[in-house]
């Protein structure tokens, strides 16, 4: 019996994960191109960039023709020391309902700090920063994720981020940290293969090791994105084409499991949409190849 058959017939009868297919990050700059492009099964929107009362027309048209839309939050800071802000959670829940989303996603990151007893004013990072992989941080993250799950009307998946800095004194590998998070909260995972590649270049962490430790049963979907290397540091820019090493990590993942969805992220320096379509074709080819490889191994 092949790997695909096992998944279909289900030793996991309770698999409620949504089959998403191949999608792209919806951004206003490429809205027309996305609409004109056949074969885009679903899109992701940055949750903070849409207002539930005034959803962009192109997004509504996509929704009407059955394209699934997943809100992707960037400001909850679930890995931060504070409990998630109930107002931010309510806003995310509202967007999930307005978009009839099958799930919502956020990041394993902290985005602000200071205030309270820290002796510093409150500060916003303006971007995602890595959580130390310690027992303390994991306990806090689990509780924050559980609070978010309770506030949201649909399942939550959380994403591994790209890190430029290393915390000293870490107690767990990324794979172990995520595995325990999933075990304790039942949260789903959004695995960004570009971020695994980033952590390979910047922190010397082998993606194969991370993939081997991850609970891939909990995989909701995969992010793929481009970046660039400068002075031995990988910058996850989302403004460059997806390079081969990132597709290689995707292939490694696909050899282990068939992802329910894959999404191409592009946030800057937008090329003609035909180029993005070609990148999506490249991703589909890896998905097809990965399935075949898994079949060959297990079949």
């Amino acid at each position: 019996m092949g790997a695909t058959d096992i998944r279909a017939t289900g030793t996991r009868a309770a698999d409620t994960r949504v089959r998403l297919g191949t999608g792209i990050g919806w951004r206003p700059e490429i809205a027309d191109g996305i609409e004109a492009q056949p074969g885009i099964d679903w899109v992701e929107v940055v949750a903070e960039n849409v207002c539930p009362d005034h959803l962009p027309e192109p997004l509504l048209r996509l929704s009407e023709r059955g394209t699934k839309i997943v809100p992707h939050g960037v400001s909850l800071g679930l890995g931060g020391a504070d409990r998630p802000d109930p107002a931010k959670l309510a806003a995310l829940a509202e967007r999930a309902e307005a978009l009839q989303a099958p799930l919502v996603t956020e990041h394993i990151a902290f985005v602000r700090a200071g205030g309270g007893t820290t002796g510093r004013p409150r500060m916003e990072a303006g971007h995602l920063l890595p959580v130390p992989r310690t027992r303390d941080a994991l306990d806090v993250l689990c509780e924050n994720v559980a609070a978010a799950q309770e506030a949201l009307p649909v399942p939550l998946a959380v994403e591994n981020i790209a890190a430029l800095v290393n915390w000293p004194g870490e107690e767990m590998s990324e794979g172990r940290f995520l595995a325990e998070l999933v075990e304790r909260t039942g949260v789903q995972l959004l695995i960004d293969v570009a971020n695994l590649h980033t952590n390979h270049v910047n922190r010397g962490e082998d993606p194969a090791v991370a993939l081997g430790e991850l609970p891939l049963d909990a995989l909701a979907y995969v992010h793929v994105a481009g970046g660039f290397e400068r002075d031995g540091v990988w910058h996850d820019s989302h403004g460059h084409p997806v390079p081969q090493p990132v597709l290689d990590v995707l292939a490694q993942l696909c050899a282990r499991t068939a992802p329910p969805g894959v999404l191409l992220e592009r946030d800057e320096n937008f090329p003609p949409v035909a180029e993005l379509a070609a990148e999506l074709d490249g991703i589909r080819a890896v998905l097809a190849g990965g399935g075949a490889e898994a079949e060959a191994r297990h079949g």
Binding site: T118, M123, E124, W167, N202
Partner: protein, 149 residues
């Protein structure tokens, strides 16, 4: 579910985590010291990356600023402004603060450019909306020019 109980079990962990994350973030956005055990060079790379991301968003909410300044000058002047100055109150506020700062001490920009930035700032800062009518608007701009000079 494991041994976490909302409200009690994690309060000590939250405090320790808050201290650690605050020290790191202060080093990245508020010119704080490099916390023990961190690689100073990597922190510098991350600091610049955060400022770069911040400049990206400011350029999106205020596209006139890179237009007036030119992309390269916008980037260098923004980096000089943002270094050690954490963002307060969102990206629009950030764009306004940057513009105001530039009109006051933007050394690398000439007077005409500084004047354009000042006009941009005056029209958006809400303090003095541009008046109705061509003559009044011309006088207002003249006044802005004197203040910027």
């Amino acid at each position: 579910m494991a041994e976490t109980h909302p409200g009690d079990g994690t309060s000590a962990a939250r405090e320790r985590l808050a201290r650690a994350q605050t020290a790191l973030l202060a080093a990245l956005v508020a010119d704080g010291p490099v916390p023990d055990g961190f690689d100073a060079e990597r922190l510098a790379v991350q600091r610049r990356a955060l400022i770069g991301k911040r400049a990206d968003v400011v350029a999106k909410v205020a596209p006139e600023l890179p237009e007036i300044l030119g992309e390269k000058t916008f980037r260098t002047e923004f980096a000089a402004y943002a270094r050690g100055r954490p963002m307060e109150g969102g990206y629009r506020r950030d764009a306004l603060d940057f513009a105001r700062r530039l009109t006051e001490e933007g050394r690398a920009v000439d007077r005409a450019t500084r004047l354009k930035v000042r006009r941009w700032w005056l029209e958006r800062s809400g303090a003095t909306p541009p008046p109705e009518g061509r003559v009044r608007r011309a006088l207002y701009r003249l006044r802005a020019a004197r203040q910027a000079g």
